[in-house]
């Protein structure tokens, strides 16, 4: 499977998990609906800025979208909501909120690692 196929497959799986239509996802990304279909079948490459936007919406890291079947092993993104009830600006805010959550967890991990290294450094 090519990289485009893997990414496309992941986009489709995450989109279906959010119960979003291709049309709604197209609205969120600001592209046409047929283009979403091309992305999902892997017949067109997804530009980096769109990958970042999608990752925020799905609540994952951008590199997760490059892994096969990412939706199956990212339990934390089991977001139970019907995206069709929300407007585009809501989806943007939700994506931004997920980014804040992701940053926060990464910062905590980084700080803990920094403290551990400091302790080990001073102990040696």
């Amino acid at each position: 499977m090519t990289e485009d196929h893997i990414i496309g497959n992941n986009i489709r799986q995450f989109r279906e998990r959010l119960e979003m239509s291709q049309q709604e996802l197209a609205g969120f990304l600001g592209v046409t609906t047929p283009l979403i279909s091309y992305y999902e079948t892997g017949s067109r490459s997804v530009p980096t800025d769109k990958i970042d936007k999608l990752a925020s919406l799905f609540g994952v890291d951008a590199y997760d979208l490059f892994e096969e079947n990412a939706a199956h092993h990212t339990a934390n993104t089991a977001f139970a909501f019907r995206a069709s009830e929300l407007v585009n600006s809501d989806l943007e805010q939700i994506a931004q909120f997920r980014k804040v959550v992701k940053n926060y967890i990464n910062m905590k991990t980084l700080l803990q690692r920094g403290q551990t290294e400091e302790r080990e450094g001073s102990g040696s």
Binding site: A75, N76, A78, F79, A80, F81, E85, L86, V87, S89, D90, Q93, I94, Q96, F97, R98, K99, V100, V101, N103, Y104, I105, M107, K108, T109, L110, L111, Q112, G114
Partner: protein
């Protein structure tokens, strides 16, 4: 995943009171919700959203720690936002097996058990019956005639919406349907007449944040665990205007 179950009102009322006690609040006292969120370590964002959206919560367990987040629609009146905060607290602290969800609160939808539970919990957490009863003058209770000034005092003390307070008074049989209808009229102007500020009935400033996200970013930068660029991008994600952050200069007197 465990099956969702609609709890009995009394059970949810008890959970609300016990949760209050856990956080050192008596069942008669008002809670400053933003202060509570800060104290218990919830990272909360207040952002303008559409009317379809009241709030959203995310709970993540990682490395033996639990992290809790909520986003509240700041385009709703403050009284309503406070109800949403209490609703999300149910998901984050009371509900088992919770990860995340988007909520439209206050529908008491029995077909959606955990949303119903969260709404009912929020009612009793925000304004317990005991808190309400102890705030009504004995004479008004005796005559079964609650005054507008009492209603205004209670809603400002507990920072809840008029609609919510009236539902609560009706539930406890303290007002009639006609009185409820009457009190629902001209809420803002009557409050003004009695000298109460209008903030409870209007939307709040967008983009406010509660929690230690910013201080965490700052600590990481100070300990050189993140670069200056990374620090700026973390703050930008939080909605900060980068031109307002100055890492070098002291604030002008």
């Amino acid at each position: 995943m465990a099956k969702q179950k609609k709890e009995k009102v009394q059970v949810l009322e008890q959970k609300a009171i016990l949760q209050r006690q856990k956080w050192n609040y008596h069942s008669t006292e008002p809670i400053q919700l933003k202060k509570l969120l800060f104290e218990i370590g919830v990272v909360a964002l207040f952002r303008p959203m559409s009317l379809q959206f009241s709030g959203m919560a995310i709970r993540i367990r990682k490395g033996g720690e639990t992290f809790r987040f909520m986003m509240i629609n700041s385009d709703m009146p403050v009284g309503r936002q406070n109800f949403t905060i209490c609703h999300e607290l149910y998901h984050l602290y009371v509900q088992e097996n919770f990860e995340t969800r988007i909520c439209k609160v206050g529908s008491f939808d029995k077909k959606d058990p955990e949303e119903y539970n969260a709404d009912t919990f929020a009612v009793h957490f925000l304004l317990p019956a005991e808190a309400l009863l102890t705030r009504i003058p004995a004479q008004e209770l005796d005559n079964r005639s609650i005054s507008l000034s009492t209603i205004l005092r209670i809603e400002h003390l507990f920072e809840c919406s008029r609609e919510f307070l009236l539902i609560r008074l009706k539930e406890l049989n303290l007002i009639t349907d006609q009185e409820r209808e009457q009190f629902q009229k001209s809420v803002k102007s009557t409050a003004q007449r009695y000298g109460f500020p209008p903030y409870l009935y209007t939307k709040s400033a967008a983009e406010s944040v509660v929690g230690d996200y910013a201080s965490l970013a700052n600590d990481l930068f100070d300990s050189e665990l993140v670069s200056e660029n990374h620090y700026y991008s973390l703050m930008e994600d939080l909605g900060f205007d980068l031109s307002e952050i100055d890492l070098q200069e002291d604030e002008a007197e």
